[in-house]
């Protein structure tokens, strides 16, 4: 390589030959992390599949006790946040400083709205005694055990998803601070890009959680 004496910058670290190579490496690295996340959530989706096929009727009854309209509305909120996130990434690609901050802020607010609605739903479960444990009681099913399994999976899956959202919100706050300082330019916007991948991934997990948890055999009710 002829040009190894280049000046080191955020956009081009010493160990890379070109800006492009550095970007591709970051994207690849993030995707490898996301693959480990697919497997992480995959274990829960597998547990869900096994237990739902073992107790299809009880899962349907339990699923119908969740508020489908709140769930659908929250899905829309999350999709909106993905849209504003992709606009933030686009603004970064174009080097529009103020638009980056604005879109990241919108994404953060929508993320908090999602978490707020989730907290409301969880609170409802506590009030209704639908939280697995000694006080658990679900009316209308003969076996309480499988109903507890459904709600255990519900809390584990939505809880793990919410944890990812909280981490995502932390990342967004950090990005907003950095963006306000003018760190991100059209040449160097890798952190925004990578955080975008993470945010969209968390969105995809919810895209599967929503029909699997909320929409089992709704017509029976």
């Amino acid at each position: 390589m002829a040009n190894h004496a280049h000046e080191e910058s955020l956009a081009l670290r010493e160990q890379f030959d070109t800006v492009e190579q550095q970007k591709d490496a970051s994207t690849l690295g993030m995707w490898i992390f996301l693959v480990t996340e697919i497997m992480f959530f995959g274990g829960m989706f597998l547990a869900y599949t096994v237990y739902r096929s073992a107790f299809p009727d009880i899962f349907a009854v339990c699923s119908s006790s969740l508020n489908v309209y709140i769930g659908a509305a929250n899905t829309v909120v999350l999709l909106c946040s993905s849209f504003t996130m992709v606009l933030a990434v686009r603004s970064a690609q174009l080097g529009r400083q103020r638009a980056i901050v604005f879109n990241l802020l919108l994404t953060l607010v929508l993320g908090f709205v999602f978490l707020g609605v989730k907290a409301y739903e969880w609170n409802e479960k506590f009030v209704e005694h639908h939280v697995p444990g000694p006080g658990f009681h679900f009316e209308g099913v003969a076996q309480q055990g499988p109903a507890q399994i459904f709600f255990s999976l519900y809390f584990a899956m939505t809880g793990l998803h919410a944890l990812h959202m909280v981490i995502g919100a932390g990342i967004l706050i950090w990005l907003i601070v950095m963006a306000k300082k003018g760190t991100f330019t059209a040449e160097y916007m890798t952190p925004v890009d990578i955080a975008g991948l993470y945010w969209h991934f968390v969105d995809i997990i919810w895209i599967f959680l929503f029909p699997l948890l909320y929409l089992i055999d709704r017509h029976l009710k």
Binding site: E20, K23, D24, T27, L28, W31, I32, L34, V35, I38, M39, G42, G43, F45, L46, T49, V50, S53, A54, V68, A72, T75, V76, L79, C80, S82, F83, M85, V86, L87, R90, Q93, L94, G196, L197, H200, F201, D203, I204, I207, F208, F210, P211, L212, Y214, L215, I216, D217, R218, H219
Partner: protein, 99 residues
Amino acid sequence: MSEHIDSVKTYALVFLGLIVATVVTTAVAFVDLGPFSVVVALAIAVCKMLLVALFFMHVRHSTKLTRLVVLGGLMWLAILILVTLTDFATRGNLGVPGR
């Protein structure tokens, strides 16, 4: 690979598609499709996943290596689920105790 910057219109259309799919999947859940309701729900979810991954996550502009890693991840997930189900789905067939 040169950088591709999609237009706001493209993203807005994808976003609109995602919202429509959410409404459709919710509405279809109230229709009695028998065993196909799971199939329809998952098919819509996969379509939404593809929209998000290809457009919002820029997979359609990414390098072949990145695409390979994404496909590899889905392949491992398929192995996890399918191979485990060969056990759980066939346990009853032999009358093995414990099920």
